[in-house]
C-alpha cells in the first residue's frame, strides 16, 4: 500500500485525500489548524447561487469521518527530503512521516487589507473586508454602524490587493468581482433602503451564471456600478467615510459620503505555501503561487517528481474550480503511482 501525504486540509486537501483513499491508498493529511475546511470557514454563502457554505463543509466533514484517511491537526511541515525514492516529511513535534508521494494543497491567504493604508482598514471604524462582511451576512449578523443605525450608503471596492503594483500583486484574484456582486445583492436583501455602489476597474464575470448575476444586481437589486478605483478613504466627524475616486467614464473625480466601506480583498499565496515550496524545492511563480510543470497538461505537477499540487496554492481559484483541480490531482497521483 502506497502512502501519500497531503499538506493542507482545506477543500483541495480533503477532496484529494478522499479520492485517493477511494483509489485504495493510505493517505495522511497535515493541517495546521484545529479544524479542516481552510478558508471555507471564513465564508457563509457561495456565489453565484448563494449556496450555504455549511452544505459544502458538511460534505467535507462527512468525507473526513467516513473515509479511512488520517488527519494530523495543528501540525506543520518543517521539511521534506527525498530518500531512496521516498519522501521523508518532518513535522512539528519532531515526528517523521515517510511517503511515496506528496500533494501540496496549502491554499491561499487573504490579502491583508491594512497594506492598502489609504483605505484605513483597522483604522476607520466602518471599513471592513469582504471576509468580515461574510460573517455579518449570517442571519444573526449585526450590520449596524455608528449610532446603531443601518448603513444608508455602502460602497464596495473591487481589486483590493489584486491587479495592483502598490500591493505587490499584479495578478487578478478572479473571484472578488463575483463575490462583490453576490455580497451586494445579499446586503440589498438585508437593507432594502440602502444605496449600494461598487467601484470597479473591470468586472470579470468569467464563470457560469456570473454575468447573469451581475445583470440581476443592476436590474433587480439596484446596485450601482461606478468605474473607477478608490484612491483613498477618510473618516468624518460622524464616523461616516468620505471616499474619492475618479468616475472614469465621465472623466471626472468623484467623492461621496458613505456609511460602510467593504474592501473586496484578493488572494495571495500564503506563508504556508512559500514555506512548503522552500522545504521541498519546488518553484513559485512571480505571483508567489506554486509553479506547475505545464500550464495546460500538467497543472497538478510540480517541478519535482512525486510532489503534486492541488487547489488555490497554484493560482486564485473558486471553490468549484478547487474541487475539480483536487480531483484531477488525485487522478494524476494515482496514475503516477501505478506507473512506478
Amino acid at each position: 500500500m502506497k502512502h501519500i501525504v497531503i499538506i493542507g486540509g482545506g477543500i483541495a486537501g480533503i477532496e484529494t485525500a478522499s479520492a485517493l483513499t477511494d483509489a485504495g491508498h493510505w493517505v495522511t493529511v497535515i493541517e495546521k489548524e484545529a479544524q479542516v475546511g481552510g478558508k471555507l470557514n471564513n465564508w457563509s454563502y457561495l456565489f453565484p447561487d448563494f449556496t450555504p457554505v455549511d452544505k459544502i463543509k458538511s460534505v467535507l466533514q462527512e468525507k473526513c469521518s467516513e473515509k479511512d484517511f488520517s488527519i494530523l491537526h495543528q501540525t506543520e511541515v518543517s521539511s521534506i527530503h527525498r530518500k531512496n525514492g521516498k519522501f521523508n516529511i518532518e513535522i512539528s513535534g519532531e515526528h517523521q512521516l515517510e511517503a511515496d508521494a506528496v500533494v501540496v494543497a496549502t491554499g491561499y491567504e487573504l490579502f491583508d487589507a491594512r497594506r492598502k493604508e489609504e483605505y484605513g482598514y483597522k483604522i476607520y471604524d466602518h471599513v471592513i473586508t469582504s471576509a468580515d462582511l461574510e460573517q455579518l451576512l449570517l442571519p444573526n449578523g449585526d450590520l449596524t454602524v455608528a449610532a446603531g443605525e443601518n448603513p444608508k450608503r455602502i460602497a464596495f471596492v473591487h481589486c483590493v490587493g489584486s491587479r495592483d503594483e502598490k500591493s505587490g500583486n499584479h495578478y487578478c484574484s478572479k473571484v472578488c468581482c463575483i463575490t462583490g456582486v453576490k455580497q451586494a445583492i445579499e446586503l440589498r436583501k438585508r437593507l432594502p433602503e440602502a444605496e449600494i455602489y461598487c467601484f470597479y476597474m473591470d468586472l470579470r464575470m468569467y464563470g457560469k451564471r456570473f454575468e447573469e448575476l451581475y445583470r440581476e444586481a443592476q436590474e433587480k437589486y439596484d446596485i450601482e456600478f461606478i468605474r473607477g478605483r478608490l484612491s483613498e478613504a477618510s473618516e468624518k466627524i460622524d464616523k461616516s467615510l468620505l471616499i474619492k475616486a475618479e468616475d472614469t467614464l465621465s472623466g471626472r473625480p468623484l467623492k461621496m459620503n458613505i456609511d460602510l466601506l467593504v474592501l473586496l480583498v484578493g488572494m495571495e499565496a500564503g506563508k504556508g505555501t512559500a514555506s512548503a515550496a522552500a522545504s521541498c524545492g519546488i518553484g513559485c511563480e512571480d505571483s508567489g503561487f506554486l509553479k506547475t510543470a505545464d500550464s495546460f497538461l500538467k497543472s497538478n505537477f510540480s517541478e519535482q517528481e512525486g510532489i503534486f499540487l492541488a487547489g488555490s496554492c497554484t493560482a486564485p481559484m473558486s471553490v468549484n474550480d478547487t474541487i475539480l483541480h483536487a480531483r484531477s490531482a488525485a487522478q494524476e497521483v494515482n496514475n503516477w503511482l501505478l506507473r512506478r
Binding site: E219, L249, S250, M256
Partner: protein, 114 residues
C-alpha cells in the same frame, strides 16, 4: 471684495452627496431597462447624430446618474431618435424611451449644478 487678480476655481469633482436623483429615479421607474447599461458605448458608435455633431449617447447615462441636468438637457436634444442605438445595445435597453422621458421631464428638475 478685494481684487487679488485671481478668483476661486470651481471644483471639477462630482460631489455625489449633492446629487439630485429625482430625474434619475423617475426615468428608472418609467424605463427600468435603463438600469442595466454597461457603458459599452455601442450606442455612441452607431449613432446617426454623432456623424454630424459632437454627441455621446453613452454619456447621457452618466450625466443622468450624476444629476448634471443642465448639460444633459442641451445634449439630449441632439438625438434624432432614429433607433439605431437600440439595434446594437447588448442589454436591450429601450434607449428611445429614455431619451423621450428625459426630454419631457428635465424642465421639471432643471437645477443649476455647482
Amino acid at each position: 471684495m478685494k481684487d487679488f487678480g485671481f478668483t476661486m476655481i470651481k471644483q471639477r469633482t462630482i460631489d455625489y452627496d449633492q446629487f439630485d436623483g429625482r430625474l434619475l429615479n423617475e426615468v428608472l421607474e418609467m424605463e427600468p431597462s435603463f438600469k442595466v447599461c454597461l457603458s459599452c458605448g455601442g450606442c455612441t458608435a452607431t449613432c446617426s447624430a454623432v456623424d454630424l455633431v459632437s454627441f455621446n449617447v453613452r454619456r447621457m447615462n452618466l450625466l443622468l446618474r450624476r444629476g448634471e441636468t443642465v448639460e444633459l438637457e442641451s445634449e439630449i436634444k441632439k438625438c434624432m431618435l432614429c433607433g439605431k442605438c437600440m439595434l446594437v445595445c447588448p442589454r436591450g435597453i429601450n434607449i428611445r424611451n429614455v431619451i423621450m422621458l428625459i426630454k419631457k421631464s428635465i424642465p421639471k428638475y432643471k437645477t443649476v449644478t455647482l
